[in-house]
C-alpha cells in the first residue's frame, strides 16, 4: 500500500476511532489484496510507510466479499464491479483477505 494511502488510513483511524473504521479493498489479485489487509491490521509488512510497526487492527474486506457486496446497490455493483468480478480470481482474493482479517483484525 502506498505511503499516501497508509497516511490516510492512519489519520482516519485516529480521527474516527479504530473500531469505527473498516477498509474496503479493490485489489486485482490475492497477494496485493492480502498485503493491503495486513497493512491496515498488523502494520506495513514492508516496514516502509506510516503504518510500519503500527498495528491498527482494522478489518479489511474485499469488495467481492458477500458481506460487502450485499450492501451495495445491485445496479451500482453491476455497473462498477461485476465486469472485473468475472475476470479476476474471486475465490483466491476473498480467501486471502479473510484469512488475514481473521488473523490480525481486532475490531
Amino acid at each position: 500500500m502506498d505511503m499516501e494511502n497508509q497516511r490516510r488510513v492512519k489519520e482516519y483511524a485516529e480521527k474516527f476511532g479504530k473500531e469505527q473504521v473498516v477498509c474496503i479493498l479493490g485489489g486485482a489479485e490475492a497477494e496485493a489484496s492480502g498485503l493491503a489487509a495486513e497493512t491496515v491490521s498488523n502494520g506495513d509488512p514492508a516496514w516502509a510507510g506510516p503504518l510500519a510497526g503500527v498495528q491498527l487492527g482494522l478489518k479489511a474486506f474485499h469488495i467481492f466479499e458477500d458481506d460487502i457486496k450485499n450492501q451495495v446497490d445491485p445496479a451500482v455493483y453491476e455497473a462498477q464491479v461485476s465486469l472485473m468480478e468475472m475476470v479476476l480470481d474471486v475465490d483466491a482474493i476473498t480467501k486471502e483477505v479473510s484469512t488475514i482479517r481473521n488473523q490480525y483484525a481486532n475490531w
Binding site: L35, P45, A46, W47, A48, A52
Partner: protein, 343 residues
C-alpha cells in the same frame, strides 16, 4: 553490538521515485524496517543510527555518496552495518553494495544485506557484503528480517556465517589442510561412488541444462540457419550493436550473399582481436562454406537471414531473451537446424 542501518528514501519514509534525489541524512535510532530488525535483535545488538539516502542521488554521485555515507556511519563507531534489504530494487541494491564496499574496506567491519539473486548489486558487490537471498519484492520483508537477524547473531557470537546461508561471495580463503589435495579429491570421489555425503571444495557455477533436439534425419532436405554471438554484422554495424554487454541482436538478410568480405561485413565484437574476422567474416559466420554445401547437396538450404549479437560481457538473462525471440523467428521460417558460432 552497535549497528548502523543504511536504507533508501522509500524505506526511510521520505517518499518514492520523486524523492530519489534525497541527499544522505542520519537519524538517531531506527527508521522503517529498522524497527522490525531491532525488535528481532533484542539482546544481541541495537541499531544506534540510520543513514538514509535517495537511490538516484547515490548512484549519480557515487564517489561523493560513498564518502558522505561512510563519514556518517563511522561517527557511530558501529561493530556491524546492515544495508537494505533491497530485494530486486536495482539502484537500491547497487547503493547497498557500494556502502558495503566502502565500509568493509575502510572500517573493516562486516556488512549484512538482503537482495534478490538477480539484483545487480549482488553481481557487482557480493564480495564486500554478506548478502541474504530474499524474494524480489518488499512483500518478502517478513522472511528477510529473520534471515538478516540470524546472520547478525552469527557475527555477534564472533563466528563467520556458514556457506549456504548467504549468496556466495566469490572470496577464496587460504587455509592449511591436513591432507594434500589429491588425497582429499580421491576421498570425495570414493564417497560419491559409494553414495555417501561429501562437501565439495569448489562449487561449480550453475548452468542451464538444455535438452538436445532430435537429430536431423536427412541433412540434404534440412533448412539450416546461422546464429552467432561473434558480432558479425553488415559493414558499418547499422543497428549499433554494442561491442560489450550487447543490448540487442540483429537480423540480417543473406539474400544474394555468397561470401562475406572486408568490404561488406565486419564484427562489432570488442572481446577478441577483430583483425581476422574483419578481413574475412566467413571465419566467424561461415556463409561461403554453407553456400558450397547447398550446391553440393549436403544440406537442403541456407535460411535467408542470419542473427547476430555480441557475447562479450552480455548478461545471461539478456542472451536468453534474445535467444527466445530468435528461436521464435526460426520456428516461423520452419528452420530445421541452427549452427551457433561463437568466437
Amino acid at each position: 553490538m552497535r549497528i548502523v542501518h543504511y536504507i533508501n528514501q522509500f524505506f526511510g519514509g521520505i517518499g518514492g521515485e520523486d524523492k530519489a534525489d534525497f541527499r544522505p541524512e542520519v537519524r538517531e535510532g531506527v527508521v522503517g524496517p529498522g524497527q522490525a530488525l531491532n525488535q528481532a535483535l533484542a539482546g544481541t545488538g541495537e541499531i544506534v543510527a540510520t543513514v538514509i539516502c535517495g537511490d538516484s542521488w547515490f548512484n549519480e554521485n557515487l564517489e561523493e555518496a560513498k564518502a558522505t555515507v561512510l563519514e556518517k556511519i563511522s561517527k557511530y563507531s558501529p561493530d556491524l552495518v546492515i544495508a537494505g534489504p533491497a530485494f530486486n530494487a536495482g539502484r537500491y541494491g547497487m547503493a547497498c553494495g557500494a556502502v558495503a564496499e566502502v565500509v568493509s574496506k575502510q572500517l573493516g567491519i562486516p556488512v549484512v544485506s538482503g537482495m534478490y539473486k538477480e539484483n545487480p548489486g549482488v553481481e557487482v558487490y557480493r564480495k564486500f557484503a554478506w548478502i541474504v537471498e530474499t524474494g524480489n519484492s518488499a512483500a518478502d520483508m517478513r522472511k528477510a528480517v529473520p534471515a538478516i537477524v540470524a546472520m547478525v547473531k552469527v557475527f555477534a557470537a564472533g563466528q563467520t556465517p556458514e556457506p549456504g546461508t548467504y549468496i556466495e561471495r566469490g572470496v577464496r580463503v587460504n587455509y592449511m589442510a591436513n591432507e594434500r589435495g589429491s588425497k582429499r579429491a580421491v576421498d570425495m570421489l570414493v564417497k560419491k561412488l559409494t553414495e555417501q555425503p561429501f562437501v565439495t571444495e569448489f562449487p561449480m557455477p550453475e548452468f542451464d541444462r538444455v535438452a538436445p533436439n532430435q537429430p536431423i534425419r536427412d541433412l540434404s532436405k534440412a533448412k539450416i540457419a546461422l546464429v552467432t554471438s561473434g558480432g558479425i554484422v553488415p559493414k558499418g554495424n547499422p543497428d549499433h550493436i554494442e561491442s560489450s554487454s550487447a543490448s540487442k541482436y540483429g537480423k540480417y538478410s543473406l539474400e544474394g550473399v555468397t561470401d562475406l568480405t572486408a568490404e561488406t561485413h565486419e564484427t562489432a565484437h570488442g572481446g577478441y582481436d577483430p583483425t581476422y574476422a574483419n578481413k574475412d567474416a566467413d571465419r566467424v559466420l561461415p556463409v561461403d562454406v554453407l553456400r558450397d554445401l547447398v550446391k553440393e547437396g549436403v544440406i537442403g538450404s541456407l535460411h535467408e537471414y542470419w542473427y547476430a549479437t555480441v557475447g562479450n560481457g552480455t548478461a545471461v538473462a539478456s542472451a536468453k531473451a534474445y535467444a527466445q525471440k530468435i528461436a521464435e523467428d526460426l520456428h516461423n521460417y520452419k528452420v530445421d537446424a541452427v549452427i551457433l558460432t561463437s568466437t
